[in-house]
Amino acid sequence: MNRLHPLRALSAVGRFLRRDKKAMVGSAILFVLLVIAAFPSWFTPDDPAAEIYNPGAGLSWAHPLGTTSFGQDVFSQLMAGTRQSVMIALVVGFFCTILSVVVGVSAAYLGGLVDDGLSLIIDVILVIPTFPLIIVIAAYTKSASFWTIVFVLVVTGWSYGARQLRVQALSLRNRDYLLAARARGEASWYIIGFELMPPMTSLIAANFLGAALYAVLAAAGLQFVGLGNVNTQSWGTMLYWAQNNEALQAGLPLWALAPGIMIAILGSALALLNYAFDEVSNPALRPVKSRRTKAVRV
């Protein structure tokens, strides 16, 4: 395997983005949301929690999305809430990926009893309905903090990726180039880190995005039913307050619908990128050139 030079890797990513429309749209959205998450105050002149305006105001230049029944600016809340959702996506995605890679690859690489044991754990976590479990855990902790939510989502969310990575690592395990590395007497950590992992990069990336998407949706659901800390700024807690004050019935649909749209936008960006990475790791899924389609079509 040729070693990947950082600059070459970067230009490969650039080429991938230019060629694939799904990846381009997904990463553009993600970039905008990251900027909002990093600098929310650029977009919100007001304190998002301050109850200083006319309650229940409609759309206007001052309040592009109206105000809440408490007299808060909906748009400011939306911008301020970006940070938590993006953070949860990234942090949970990161830890889930680490755990899936470690468990999945070592199960495949070590084989035997270790593989049997780890596979059983993966499968059990995979089939236990996670969301009810998350609800139960959150109910015991009472108004779960950011890190509690992260912890719970990581514990319940890594197994799907681990299973996929195990399967791919298994299929790579007995390739000639790996046997050659072993025959050269390379250390295990070198073989795993520099020979086995590089071909799995796109699948690992897809798993990161899948876990991040899962985290965004689950965290939003948890906060929506009031199991997060309802006094923090996030899209999930906005939905919670909107639902509790019957925003839809009170003629303030944007209060309830706008945070959901933001969640959907973040989710779609992750899902589009995820799908694009899937196409990289499974060439059969790539869009076919039009000339060939005609021949295939009946």
Partner: protein, 327 residues
Amino acid sequence: MRFLVRRLGFLLVALWAALTVNFFIPRLMPGNPAEAILAQFHGRLNPAALKAIEAALGIGKHQSLVTSYVEYLRNTLTGNFGISFSQGNATVSSLISRALPWSLGLVGISTVIGFVLGTAIGGVVAWRRGGTLDNVLPPTFIIVSAFPYFWVGLLSIWLFSLTLNWFPSLGGSTATSTLSWSWGSFTDILSHAVLPAFTIVITSVGGWILTMRNNMITVVAEDYVKMARAKGLKPRRILWQYAGRNALLPNLTGFAMSLGFVISGAILVEYVFNYPGVGFLLLQAVNNEDYPLMQALFFLITVVVLVAIFFSDIATAFLDPRTRNNR
């Protein structure tokens, strides 16, 4: 037969793991919530209710961890969930048996509709690879599958119920009418189920379309499909009887895998629509700190999901001899 025993064994291991996790969560969390809860309710509840909490959490005042664990397992497995203290001291079992038919009806039917619809669309889309449908549907549903279930529910309440006034927005039936085996009751229940079912179908169908499309693309490249084409069989026949059958198999396994995901979404959909099913009951129990009810519902949902997975494994093994050998 060996396969059956293995799957049954797995079912039991998973069930035991879920029960054990459920037992240890309230005791091992920082601050030992189990003890705190008991202290909090002491003096506020009658002795029977206190006993129910003790049983649900597996705490006895003078018991070792092992004894209470064994007692907890025995109580759960014999269906002795005690009484709920938030719902007028009804037994947990009676509350659950009242809620269960609603959930099984709503979630069961809409999941199957989503699966059948998604599989059919996915098959057709892959067959017409590169056609208009193939260019429009997959990207659309990648985006739709990223929508939160409950938000699609809120949107459809706002659009179809509050704005257009087509369907009722809340509940499983009109509260004042008593349910009977009559046409009136039937249409009443149906009209209340339309929006929640629509929500579940819309958000789950995308996943099936995408996986079926991807399976189908692999299968269509196989030699036996080329052979069928060379024989001059009708495209429709090749699509469903040759390629479709085989592409369906991984989807069936996927059905089991994503069932937990669908159930999770359905809990929130029931909550949004105040639908009187198991998910709504679970969130009510959480809000009222009704721990016996909560524990029993988690157990029940786990059992339903695991049993469904077990049956879909059996179905896959029955339809596909390959899975019998290598698993």
